[in-house]
């Protein structure tokens, strides 16, 4: 189960959507389709703000309460990024289809309904951001997120791990997802499990370092954390958007 730790993306794979992107990282593959600003349904129309509509579809089966919870987390994050007051009476619809989840050879991969899957949030969020960028929808800033786990058992008890594997996430004492904006502000923080305030501070510190990195090799920032292998998402988003813009504007 070699899960690639390098992010990959395919921009505008869907011809009919205003913007779309397929994003894969740490074994998760998510396709986002973004449409907007379009006319909002009459009953949801807001006279002063755009409606941000996030739909999460699971890899298999129909969505349940877990997907509704993911939707509400992503909705509240994304509506902070989009200048919603610039598009009154409209709707910006973001459909996120989970295509793949990491294969897990050791843990019992029982699909439990109505269980929140925190590690999928960064993949969903990054796919949504790339979709919004391809749809040329104005954003105040971009946000990058990462998963952090605090391990429980063994010698490394209480150790904070960035981007845990499926097994590590399963066995962790607590799991956290943190998202930071381009200028380093905390925008998203979701946690499960039990943890102390000091541990949360550690998680936030590691998360900020990982999310705010904007260089290909993070050696200068993460030297002390032997987590150099994880690549910078912000740099990745910048480079894919740059190559798309260069390709689209080849005639200039």
């Amino acid at each position: 189960m070699a899960v690639s730790s390098q992010p990959a993306a395919d921009l505008a794979p869907l011809p009919r959507a205003d913007g779309s992107a397929t994003f894969s990282h740490h074994g998760f593959v998510v396709t986002a389709a973004v449409n907007g600003p379009v006319e909002a349904p009459r009953r949801d129309e807001n006279a002063f703000e755009a409606l941000v509509d996030v739909i999460v579809r699971p890899a298999a089966g129909v969505g349940g309460t877990a997907e509704r919870q993911l939707e509400s987390i992503l909705q509240s994050t994304l509506r902070q990024l989009i200048p919603i007051r610039d598009f009154p009476r409209t709707m910006i619809q973001i459909t996120l289809q989970i295509v793949e989840i990491p294969e897990n050879a050791y843990e019992n991969a029982k699909i439990l309904q109505a269980q929140l899957n925190l590690p999928v949030i960064p993949a969903l969020l990054h796919a949504a951001i790339l979709g919004l960028l391809t749809a040329s929808i104005p954003l105040k800033t971009i946000v990058t997120a990462c998963t952090v786990a605090i391990t429980e058992d063994g010698a490394s008890a209480g150790r904070v791990t960035l981007e845990p594997t499926a097994i590590e996430a399963r066995r962790a004492k607590s799991l956290h997802v943190v998202g930071f904006t381009g200028d380093g502000g905390l925008l998203l923080s979701e946690s499960t499990g039990s943890f102390s305030l000091e541990e949360l501070a550690q998680v936030l510190e590691l998360g900020e370092k990982a999310c705010s990195r904007d260089h290909k090799d993070g050696t200068d920032v993460l030297m002390e954390d032997d987590e150099v292998s994880s690549s910078s998402i912000k740099y990745f988003i910048r480079s894919v958007m740059q190559s798309k813009a260069a390709k689209d504007l080849h005639w200039k």
Binding site: E39, P88, T134, A135, S136, L139, I142, D214, A245, D248
Partner: protein
Amino acid sequence: MLFSYSSLLQGRNPSLKSIPRTQNPTRLTHRAGAMSSGPIYVLPGDEIDASLIPSHPKKPLRLGPGLRHAPPNDIIPTVAGQFVVERQKNAIRVETTSGRYIPRVGELVIGTVHHSGAESYFVTLSDFTSSALLPHLSFESATRKTRPMLANGALVYARVSLAHKHMDPELECVSPSTGKSDGLGPLTDGMLFPISLGMSRRLMLSKSAQDGKVVVLDELASAGLQFETATGRNGRFWVDSENIKTISLVGRAVTETDEKGLNVDQQKKLVRSLIKELS
């Protein structure tokens, strides 16, 4: 038409150069174009290097699409694209080619008549957006009795006369100052092709072959085909000809050039193969 500016900063802002910057060693903020000299690409929220913002002694600084002025003196990109500076016009903008059309005043668009109201037509500029209004009387020499009767589904070439986020856009097919149509009005017959916003902008450049590197239409015309085209800024391309084969050939040539991002030589090659197919 090149593009229209979404906002205008009144007066040159001399304090732009002295935006206070926090230099936090752990936080690596990306400063657009701090070192590169080639094309500059930005992401939303990036900081634009002050040396890139033009200063002109008289003209006010103009912000084009994709930029936001955050008072007091920050200029922040809102879309991902190429940062373009026009020193002569004292203007800056971020160029993108994809996305949904958002109307701006003065742009030429091709709309589809959805239905007719009491005093105006309801015209669709892009799918799933609220209709634009085209008053019955804003055609050349139109009066209550003599006005063009447009059926549902008819195409019109019009100019955006009003665009405001709180109101439905309004269109006109007549110049308000001269009363002439200037080529605007109903588009009869022909066929409509959807193209990307970037392609429609390229086609609408005054020197599209030179500045936009689009030569398909010139090549098709020099191959002896006779056709008429109209391009709307909303990503619509209309072709009409006596010969139906010519219509579909021209439309295919333009959509293929758009989708595959063909360069000048590839466009010429495409035209040659299409012409061969026709004969």
